[in-house]
Point group: C2
Chain length 216, copies 2
């Protein structure tokens, strides 16, 4: 693999998409694919695909195409999802429950080891096999169990306080479903935001204007 | 506004982000901003910002910067979120409930007028002021009420059948939370996918490698 620093954000952003399409190919029994064919189903140019995969040393063989399983494994390795890190959930409302119960998601490199909420009606209930604890116990839990990542599903108004606790306790990353912007105040944390509002606005745009789907 | 066809997908993808940052500026009482300042908080180059906004005719005044409110209104207009279209929810489990109750989301150009599920424990319950109906009534409802958009929160295995009904009944767009790929079978529909798996894999990558947050 080439030096991480040389890989652009846009290539990184495309890697999960490659992984997803390769998964789908394998599910359909397709074990070998040319960059031209992959280009067609992924709706990007073949040269873009060759260029992207070359960032990581390339996996194709001229004239033979890509071995789908080997390519998926390598991309999984680069993405780090073949190893398992620990994760906790903060905010066990509808969204938190939905995310924690999507086992296909959490198996992408993470294992849920704790869940927290502030509501007495939720504390003590069980979620994905884990008992939801009072968020007051979050700090103590993090110091003891050292979870690597936190899934934050609390309202924006509660998120800053949660960010401080996580940051102080050595949590490394946040999968952020709140609309709070962690990146400005917590520069040590790795943050990936799920901006549902961006997504619905994009749909609004596509419906208003006569433009093609982006085929993501 | 220039011809829609000339606006690249990447510019369209950035518009909701502009809208979000402009919203935040207004919330903080900032009414005017230079492209240099906007560039700093959005972590993109000032020339990228000028280039993007010029796609739509530009809104800045040399030396005076952008009027934040006017710019937000114009971008909202381009995104189509100043008008209200009708939407329905299909799948009122935890995820569906979470999305339907995020009023800030649905106010981005849409109004929920119906909700459907196949589970007898959910049918008849009330969600965001709307009674959840049996999904068997979906077709009849769509033919009568002509919703513009459907939020699909059903498992992938149920999604194709739902897609057929929506497509036949004249629904124009899908906000897709299932992992089913509608774009191949339903080319008339505008589709925006929420790929939670892509997002968690990106976080896995950031945690594994020493790379900066993308500041989205």
């Amino acid at each position: 693999m080439k030096n991480d620093k040389n890989i652009s954000q846009s290539v990184i952003n495309r890697l999960p998409r490659y992984y997803r399409f390769l998964n789908r190919l394998l599910e359909n029994g397709i074990t070998r694919i040319s960059s031209a064919e992959l280009s067609k189903i992924m709706m990007v140019t073949a040269s873009q695909i060759r260029q992207d995969l070359n960032c990581f040393g390339g996996f194709g063989q001229q004239g033979y195409g890509y071995n789908v399983e080997a390519l998926r494994r390598e991309i999984g390795e680069i993405l780090g999802i073949n190893d398992i890190s620990t994760a906790i959930l903060i905010g066990a409302g509808n969204l938190g429950k939905a995310v924690a119960n999507r086992h296909d998601l959490l198996r992408k490199g993470f294992k849920l080891i704790g869940a927290f909420d502030s509501s007495t009606s939720v504390i003590g209930t069980t979620l994905a096999g884990i008992q939801v604890e009072d968020v007051k116990k979050l700090e103590e839990f993090c110091l003891r169990e050292k979870p690597v990542m936190a899934i934050v599903c609390v309202p924006a108004s509660a998120a800053e306080e949660i960010g401080k606790i996580l940051n102080n306790c050595g949590v490394k990353g946040i999968w952020n479903f709140s609309s709070y912007d962690f990146t400005h105040d917590f520069t040590n944390l790795k943050i990936v935001n799920v901006h549902l509002s961006d997504s619905i606005m994009t749909l609004s745009y596509l419906l208003k204007h006569d433009v093609e789907n982006c085929g993501d």
